[in-house]
């Protein structure tokens, strides 16, 4: 080892720079350093152990959190369905969509709009289907000679327009 015997280092500093130290300083310092290191080591051991328990606690909290979130998420879907039913009936009861929309809270307006559009589409589709059925029923009573004209007119009137 490059162990230079610096036995005179304290003497050198005292003579050249006038720097002094308390009596028996290096012996007392050695003890205090060893104590400080031991104290630090104990503190390190103490702080390492809770890390595992923190990880376990964090995992449990995470699992509980996910469970709670999933539950909440499901319960958030149900009121929407209920609201849709309520809104549908509201649409059916009210003659004017614009008037009925005034009774809806701002936060629920999107759900209301969805329900309204859904309702519109279903009603319209049903009406169209009925119109097609009428064409075929009426066609029974029409003479063969003018059947082509009837079908053409009816289809233009009911389906295309």
């Amino acid at each position: 080892m490059d162990n230079k015997a610096h036995k005179n280092i304290t003497k050198l500093h005292k003579e050249k720079l006038g720097l002094d130290i308390p009596e028996d300083f290096f012996n007392t310092s050695k003890d205090s350093i060893l104590n400080a290191v031991a104290e630090n080591k104990q503190r390190t051991v103490f702080t390492l152990r809770p890390i595992i328990s923190y990880a376990v606690a964090a995992s449990i909290i995470l699992l509980l959190g996910i469970g709670y979130w999933l539950q909440n998420n499901t319960s958030q879907i149900n009121p929407d369905i209920n609201n849709t039913e309520e809104f549908s009936s509201l649409i059916m009861d009210a003659e004017d969509f614009l008037v009925s929309s005034l009774m809806i809270d701002d936060k629920d307006i999107n759900t209301y709009m969805d329900a309204f559009i859904l309702n519109e589409i279903i009603v319209e589709a049903e009406l169209e289907e009925q119109a097609l059925e009428n064409i075929f029923i009426n066609s029974i009573f029409i003479e063969d000679s003018i059947i082509n004209i009837f079908i053409e007119d009816s289809l233009i009137e009911n389906v295309v327009l």
Binding site: N3, H6, H13, L17, G18, L19, S29
Partner: protein
């Protein structure tokens, strides 16, 4: 295996670590104390920094890769710890140590300074050197470190250090004669 390698091995061995650390203290405590004392000036500051240095050495030994010698590695820790200490107490220390008047005031107010006019004059001259010149002169002259070791500790090229050292020596010689 040389004795430094043996000491490092013992320090890394949990069963032998405590005894090896006591041996390490016996070898390096005094040298590191004086290295630190010249940077932080007063005995109380040096005592604090010395303790922190050995705590860091103890913590760092398991990761010591022997890229440098144990000797220079410990000096580097001591040097960094001293600078960190000065920065931490910068309003009280860093400015006063870089300012020569405050440096001397700080020095003479320390109860463990027993210098007379000659020593005070040397301190006065050293305090007027640039930071690099001051460090390299102190490490070379008082700590008896080689340029290669100082280069590793301060992370400055050997040629730059040599130039700074000879320039510092010249300045000190001229001012001491005057």
């Amino acid at each position: 295996m040389n004795s430094e390698a043996q000491l490092i091995e013992n320090l890394k061995n949990p069963k032998l670590k405590n005894e090896a650390f006591k041996e390490l203290l016996d070898i390096y405590q005094e040298r590191l104390y004086w290295h630190i004392r010249k940077i932080v000036v007063t005995h109380d500051n040096a005592n604090d920094v010395l303790q922190n240095t050995f705590i860091n050495v103890f913590k760092g030994i398991p990761n010591f890769k022997a890229n440098s010698t144990l000797h220079t590695w410990m000096y580097r820790i001591a040097y960094n710890e001293s600078i960190r200490y000065l920065k931490k107490n910068k309003f009280k220390l860093l400015q006063s140590i870089s300012n020569e008047t405050d440096y001397l005031k700080n020095l003479t107010e320390d109860i463990y300074f027993n210098g007379e006019d000659v020593q005070l004059k040397l301190h006065n001259i050293i305090s007027k050197l640039s930071e690099k010149q001051k460090r390299v002169f102190q490490m070379k002259y008082f700590d008896d470190l080689s340029f290669r070791e100082i280069s590793e500790i301060l992370n400055i090229s050997e040629n730059t250090l040599k130039s700074s050292y000879y320039s510092a020596v010249k300045t000190i010689e001229e001012k001491i004669i005057i």
